[in-house]
Symmetry: C2
Amino acid sequence: MQARIERYVEPALLLLLSEGASHGYELADQMANLLDVERVDYGNLYRLLRSLEGEGIVESEWNDELPGRSKRTYELTDQGRQLLDAWVTSLRAANESVSAFLQRYDERNT
Amino acid sequence: MQARIERYVEPALLLLLSEGASHGYELADQMANLLDVERVDYGNLYRLLRSLEGEGIVESEWNDELPGRSKRTYELTDQGRQLLDAWVTSLRAANESVSAFLQRYDERNT
DNA sequence: TTGACATATATGTCAACAACATATATGTTA
DNA sequence: TAACATATATGTTGTTGACATATATGTCAA
């Protein structure tokens, strides 16, 4: 039993990319840090990135200039920034709903 | 795109039952009110109730004393109360995670 | 120089969850 | 007696996330 926001990695991804372009492997680290979890699943993250690219939310290109092997670097599109804003609005509403829930619980368990 | 807590109806159900025994059809109304949604899906709610009964989280019995057709009335077990407590702990953590997320977003969008 | 490990990207599989449709029984009321 | 509300229940399906696996390349120590 573990309360979880459905598709939470998606807004986390958008937020991180809104702070600067990055690539999958690095995003996974940043996200684990942001969400305070052990680590996020690489496979699903890469799939999500490709899927978002298909929808015009992010854009990518291979980057060979950094040391190490080639990285596919992603950045947000304008549409992606809009989607992040929509997520934030929605997450605020969800958070208020949960706050109301917890308050109702606490009222009966003082 | 709609931020949603996974299995949110479950803790909502447990909270409502912790405030008093009830039956499925009535719980659906109370829950729509609690979660501030149009309405919850009856089918999935009844299935959830049966499933929770199988796990010893709730107990039920037919109640013919009220007017109208027979109702299967559910109440929480001790195990159910413990599960509610666990949900609350977990929801608090999730809420704090989302709060941190929103704060980080707001910092860059003042 | 090779073996072990970290970095980096990617696909395959599967169970669960929620959305939506449908079925059935019974009570109420116009 | 027809329409509607109450009440419980099962069937079906797409999406999501957990877990497993594959592949390529860079780094570093023995």
